[in-house]
Structure formats: C-alpha cells, structure tokens
C-alpha cells in the first residue's frame, strides 16, 4: 500500500484516523493500540507472510531487551541480538550478492536463491540494532510490548524511514497530552500535501527522462552526451524529490496522529561540501552510521589515518546498506573518498586560514554538486557496464551506433504527448532546471512549515512560512488535487527497494 495510492488515501488513512480519534477519546493507550494494529495491517497488506517475519523480529528483539535487564548477561545477549539482526538482514538482502561474488572470484557454481526482500527490512532491522546497542550501553529496557512494537512498525516510517530512534519515539507513545492534536494535524496535512506533490508531480514526471535511458545502457546500449546529462541530472533530482517527498509524507502522516518524526532532509543540494551534504541528506541514516558504526570504529579519536579508514568503512557499508551490489559499494566508496578529501582540504584550509569569497562559494557548491551527481550514476545503474557507459557518455565518449533514441513522447502525469526527440530534450532540460531552481531557491519543508522535531531546528526562520490561513489552505489544496491526478501513474518509491 503506497502512500500515493487511492487505497491508502481514501480507505486506509481515513479509517485509521477515525478509529484513532475515537480511541483517543477513550484513552491515549487505546489510541496507541489502534496505531499498532493499523501498522501491522499496513505491513501485512503487502504480503501477509512477511508480517510474521516482522512480528518475529519485533518479538525476538523485545525479548532480548528484557533478557538484557540482567547486567551480567547484558553484553553477551546484546551481541547475540545484533548478530541475529545482521544475519536476518544478510539472508534476505545479501545472500545472492555473496553467492554472485564468490562465483565471480572462485568460479564455484553457487545457485541463485529466489528470496523476496521484505519491505523495509533495512529500516526495521537497523532501528532494533540501535535499540540493543543502546541497552548494552546502559539505556533503559523497554517493558511495554505495544510501545515497542509501534516504535518499530509505526506505518508512516515502516517502509522507507526516516530511521527512528527508540529514545525519540517511545516517550511520545506514552505521553498522555492531546490538547495540541488539531494544531499538529493541520501542520501534518500541509506537510503531507507538500510531500505528495514532490513525489507524484515532480519526481514521477522526471522519471521519464531517467528510466528508459538507464535501461538502455544497462542492456548494453550507448547514449549521447546530451541524453546522458539529462538522464543523470533528472535522476539526481528525481531521487531527491522521491525520497524527500516520502519523508515529508511520513512526517505529515505521523503529525496527524500527534507523533513527531525526525527530519530526514534539509536542502541537501544546497550543500557547499560533501561533509555538509551528509548532514542534510538522509539525516537519520547518517546519524545511525555515525553513532553505531563510525564512532564505535574509533571515529576521529585514533589519529588522522584511522579516521579516514573509518570514514571509508562507514561509507562503503552505507553504500551496501542501500543495496546488494558492487555499484552501491562504488557509490559508497566515492562518497567516502570525497569525505576524506573534504576533511584533508579543511585541515589544509585551517592551516592557511583563508577566507571564503563569493566565487569560492560558488565553486564549492559546484564541486560538491558535481561529485554527488557523478556518484548517482553508480547508484542508479543496474550493471557496472551500464554505469561506466553512462559515465563515459557524460564526458563525450558515449555516442555510438547503438545510442539511445527516444520515441519523442512526453508524459505529463503519465498522459502521453508526441513532441519529437529534440523538443523532448529541451522540455526535459527545462523540467530539470525548474526542479533544480525549486531545490536551490525555495526553503525546505522544515523551514517552510516551521516543523520542529524534538530538537532545535538548525535553520533560521524564513519570510515564507506556513500559517493556517486561507492562502495556505489553497496552496495545500492545489498540491493535493493535482497530485491526486498524478497518482494514477503508480510509480513505486525509489527507496522501497532498500
């Protein structure tokens, strides 16, 4: 059940909202029970059999947590729990990648195992690993199975994040206060509308310039430089609007039930460095990798060389978290390398104490954006050959006799219009430029909607700011109604595959 589906919007969500409101009148606890039941139903609607996996995972980790109340067994049980979660993730996500890699290296004929990747397994596994590690470090054990289950399975974040932390979620479920629910719901509806528009209207319309081109190079074809740049830039923006849109929808949906989720994106393409990019892109994953991988590896406490090694390990594993494939590893490696270079540059600059000028600022942004765009090629391509083909084409080495030829059909909200190949290239470039302008000029959703999670928002308040007035009701209504027409495309969220 996609957030951008008619079933979700017109059946599931109203039913859950009404049931939640009725239950909340009875008691806050009843409201939490409704949300837990609805979340399990939401997951089971995809493949009922995998609901058993989710329940088993929740039950096992909750039980392990209880066992860890004994200080003598805490560490051993915690390590077993982490190993159990990683084994589960490895089995479902990495079995075929491991077999393929062994095949490639040794020639051993290992079979292809037909395993369906359970939706959201990377997210709910990581959240529970974080819980076990924190309990090992001395955090209190959760004894309420309902709150714990809802922390893991709360439907707005279950499938594609944001990656939530038990310490920021569970206390919200136990809070009795309901007085601000209408205020939060109004903000939630506005944020949800913005997220739906980002996904359905912007990301899904950009997809037409991405999917056929990458499919062509993955199948062994070539591509001209023009199409390579259009496809790569369109993907750069598609993945941002798709994932940030999903995260906004998750935040908005959670607010409808009075729950605050962490912000996942803060205008990442405005970043002036790769370090800043990772503070703005998929923030909750960066936070997890920092707290549960980079710092335990030693972080920057063990000297410069070790710091760079830790950065590379963290980013390589971060790449693998996104998908079981060498391309994801290369993508993570490129970002790791860029972070190392960025830190070296910062160290050198500190030594020289240079002041950043206007042109330098522009150059910083351009270099950062360029690196991010190039790395996306490996992230998007399904095959290594396809990625290299696309990369070559970006630098003028791609046009061959087998170059991609577009049928020249523009699809606006999936309604086809025959325009011809050259006009399509121009329209595509225009759409990419418009989307980029939105990214660079407009404030991000937390700024625009004044969304405070449980921490202080880092951005300053802008002039353009959501208010519950008629003008903003009109803006949200437009976003929602236009998106409702785009929803007939039924394109899945890109991050569902992770």
């Amino acid at each position: 059940m996609l957030f951008s589906s008619y079933t979700f919007l017109f059946q599931f969500l109203p039913a859950v909202a009404l049931a939640f409101a009725a239950a909340r009148r009875h008691s806050p606890r009843a409201g939490i029970l409704v949300l837990t039941a609805a979340s399990l139903f939401f997951y089971g609607a995809w493949r009922p059999i995998y609901l058993l996996l989710l329940i088993a995972s929740v039950a096992a980790n909750f039980s392990l947590g209880l066992l860890m109340q004994d200080p003598l067994r805490r560490r051993a049980v915690g390590l077993v729990g982490v190993a159990f979660n990683l084994a589960l993730l490895c089995y479902y996500k990495y079995t075929n990648f491991i077999f393929d890699s062994i095949n490639m290296l040794t020639g051993a004929p290992l079979p292809f195992v037909n395993i369906v990747l359970p939706l959201g397994i990377s997210f709910f596994t990581f959240q529970q690993i974080a819980y076990l590690v924190d309990v090992m470090r001395g955090a209190p054990v959760e004894r309420d199975i309902v709150s714990y289950t809802l922390f893991v399975s709360f439907f707005p974040h279950l499938i594609a994040g944001p990656l939530v932390h038990h310490a920021e979620m569970i206390p919200q479920f136990k809070r009795g206060r309901t007085s601000r629910s209408a205020v939060l719901a109004a903000r939630g509806l506005a944020i949800f509308a913005a997220g739906l528009f980002k996904k359905v209207v912007i990301a899904d319309n950009l997809a037409q310039f991405v999917s056929p081109v990458f499919a062509h190079v993955d199948a062994g074809g070539g591509v001209t430089t023009q199409w390579a740049w259009l496809a790569t830039l369109a993907y750069t923006l598609q993945i941002y609007f798709d994932f940030a849109g999903y995260s906004d929808m998750a935040v908005g949906l959670a607010l409808l039930f009075g729950i605050r989720l962490p912000v996942n994106f803060r205008s990442p393409y405005k970043a002036m460095s790769i370090i800043e990019f990772w503070r703005r892109w998929h923030i909750t994953l960066s936070r997890f990798l920092r707290d549960y991988l980079y710092i335990p590896l030693g972080g920057n406490r063990l000297g410069e060389q070790r710091r760079y090694l830790n950065l590379m390990i963290t980013m390589l594993l971060g790449g693998l978290w996104h998908g079981a494939g060498w391309n994801f590893l290369i993508w993570g490696g490129l970002h790791g390398l860029s972070l190392c270079v960025n830190h070296l540059w910062l160290a050198w600059r500190r030594a020289g104490a240079k002041v950043r000028s206007g042109p330098a600022t522009i150059a910083s942004w351009a270099i950062t954006f360029f690196v991010v765009v190039i790395a996306w090629v490996f992230f998007r391509a399904r095959t290594a050959a396809g990625a290299w083909q696309m990369l070559g084409a970006l630098f003028g080495f791609g046009a061959e006799s087998s170059a991609y030829v577009s049928p020249g059909v523009l699809r606006l909200m999936d309604l086809p219009l025959l325009v011809g190949e050259k006009p399509l290239l121009l329209i595509g470039a225009g759409m990419v430029a418009l989307a980029l302008a939105v990214v660079l000029v407009l404030p991000n959703v937390p700024q625009l909607y004044g969304y405070r999670e449980y921490r202080r928002a880092p951005e300053k308040e802008g002039r353009l700011r959501w208010r519950p007035n008629l003008a903003w009701a009109m803006v949200s209504a437009l976003a929602l109604s236009i998106s409702l027409f785009g929803m007939w495309q039924r394109l899945e969220f890109l991050y569902f595959q992770f």
Binding site: V183, L189, L415, L418, S476
Partner: protein
C-alpha cells in the same frame, strides 16, 4: 474564513478551533480544485480523443492484406474466432480473413476505422459481435464503458453521469483519450507490426469453480437494465452507418457458457430478448444481418474459460459454427 488566521497571542482553544477549521477548509478546497482540474482535463480529453483506441489501432495493420472477411467487435470475437481457420473453411488464402476485435470493443470504434480507411472495408464482409453492456446504461464501470460514447457526452454530462462513484470511468477515459491520440499521431494503424495469428488471442485457462457466476440474469452486464440511453443510441447508430461503408455487415450475438439455462432464468431471458430485439430491429431498418447464437452444437462447458469466453479448445468449434452460419 477570517477564523482561519491565528495570531501569536491567541489562546490554545482558539488555535485548536482555527486548526480544525483550516483542515476542513483545506479538504473542501481540495475537493473543489480537484473538480475544476477534472473538468479541464475532460475538456482536453474530449478534444484529443480519437474514436479508434490503441487496442484497435494496433490491429489495423492486418487490413493491409485487403481481407474479404473482417471479424470485429468485442472479446467474444477476439478470443473465439480463428481467422486462419476461417480462411481455410471458405477456401481463401491466409490474410483474406482477419480478426480486429478487442476487449470491450464497440461499434463506434469500428465505424471510425472504416471511415479512416474506407478502401479496406468497402468490399469486405464485416462481422461485428456485440455484448449487453454496450447498450445497457446501467453498466458504468471503468473496465467496459464504451469510451467513444463517453466522448460524445460533453463535460457536464460526463461529470454528472459518473461522479462520484464511477470516477474511474472518467479517469480511464482521459488516459485512453491521450493514448488514442498518440496512436493516431504516430500512425500506429499503418506502421505497427502485424499481430500474430491474424489477430486471434487465445485463452488457455479455465477459471476455478467458485468464480463462475451463479446465473446470468443478475450478471453485471445486465445490472440496472436500461437500453434506451446514449449508449444504445450511438452504438446502434454506428452499426447502421457501417452498412454504407462495407460490402456486407453481420452483427453477432455470441452465446454464454452452456451451464446457464435461459429457460430457468427468466430475468436473463427477458433482458436478453430486449437487447437482441433492439439489434434485430436496427438490422431490419438499416440493412444488416443479425446472428443470434444462443448455443453452439459441440461446444461444452469444458470448452469455456469463464462464463462468456471459450478457451483454446473451443476456438475451432466456435469458428466453424460461426463461419457456417454466415451468409455469403
């Protein structure tokens, strides 16, 4: 609407009330805006709509052989008539008989194809199958509503007829309108590759026992029975107009599966007689033959994929019978 605004000094109860009002206003405006956008899209769709849908356009390259016998219409021709066998039966070479029927195909679409390529139909015998939902106003579902009829209704009537519960039909109409325009702009009817088996599609399955409807009288195709509306007017009109554009026109009313008994299903008999009479009366007035096939000798229950379509085993039996009944 002034109550929607909240100043910083407002008390919490007032803020809550204003927030609740804002949610209501936003949802109401969404509904209103959605209706306006829908009307605009329908107006555009009405302009770009082409009466020849994609599913028919991709079959029209078959006409390049200038066939003598053209089977057209809906799924009970698409899945049941083997043109190659029919060509053998009438002693003609392959290509002289084709099957251009498609799912939920309507006479208006065939008429549009005849007008577009008159030379390919002028000397041919066109055999068109029909189905109750083509005439019954009570059937408004997205899957089978004849879109060429929808295109003739105008925006206001479209919205009044289908909103709110049949919005899917309007959405399908908009999408198909753009798709048919694209097919026309790309000249699919001329440039597409020829479909295999001269246009026959084969159903290889038989549905499980629990999916068969209990009776036909209450079947969805006969729901809210009314054959005096726009559908009947336009589709019967199309059948009549075909007569002047083809060598000969025969309209076929194909049978339902033999498990259904007309004698014991008075509701079905009554409705079916009305719609067959509607077609037969038009045939007499306009000059086309009507072939009402209540049953086919040798075609048993095992030859059916579902309540109305034969499976692969039934295709030769049905084809032989149909060809034998066609008058030269």
């Amino acid at each position: 609407m002034s109550g929607l605004s909240i100043s910083k000094s407002t008390s919490l109860p007032r803020v809550r009330t204003a927030s609740a009002r804002w949610i209501t206003a936003a949802l109401a405006l969404t509904a209103l805006t959605w209706l306006v956008v829908l009307a605009a899209l329908l107006a555009i769709a009405n302009r770009v709509h082409d009466d020849v849908p994609v599913m028919l356009a991709i079959k029209l390259p078959l006409l390049s052989s200038h066939p003598e016998l053209i089977f057209a219409g809906e799924s009970r021709t698409e899945y049941q008539v083997d043109p190659e066998l029919a060509a053998q039966l009438i002693g003609k070479p392959q290509g002289s008989v084709v099957n251009i029927a498609y799912d939920a195909g309507e006479p208006l679409a065939v008429l549009a194809a005849m007008r577009r390529e008159p030379d390919r139909f002028r000397k041919a015998h066109v055999v068109v199958s029909v189905v109750p939902f083509l005439f019954n106003e009570g059937v408004r579902s997205a899957a089978v509503y004849p879109l060429d009829v929808a295109a003739r209704l105008g925006v206001a009537e479209q919205m009044l007829s289908f909103l709110p519960l049949r919005v899917g039909t309007l959405i399908r109409f908009i999408r198909e309108a753009f798709a048919s325009r694209l097919a026309a702009d790309r000249d699919v009817a001329e440039t597409a590759p020829q479909p295999p088996l001269s246009g026959l599609q084969v159903l290889n399955h038989t549905q499980s026992e629990d999916r068969w409807p209990a009776d036909v009288g209450s079947h969805a195709h006969y729901a809210s029975w009314n054959i005096s509306g726009a559908k009947a007017r336009f589709e019967i009109g199309a059948l009549c107009e075909m007569v002047g554009l083809a060598g000969k026109v025969t309209v076929v009313v194909p049978p339902w599966a033999p498990r259904y008994d007309r004698a014991s299903d008075s509701e079905w008999r009554q409705k079916d007689d009305q719609y067959v009479a509607l077609v037969a009366d038009a045939g007499r007035a306009c000059g086309f033959d009507v072939l009402n096939i209540a049953s086919v000798p040798g075609l048993g229950q095992g030859n059916y994929a579902d309540e109305m379509h034969v499976n692969a085993s039934g295709v030769p039996i049905y084809t032989r019978y149909l060809v034998s009944r066609l008058k030269p």
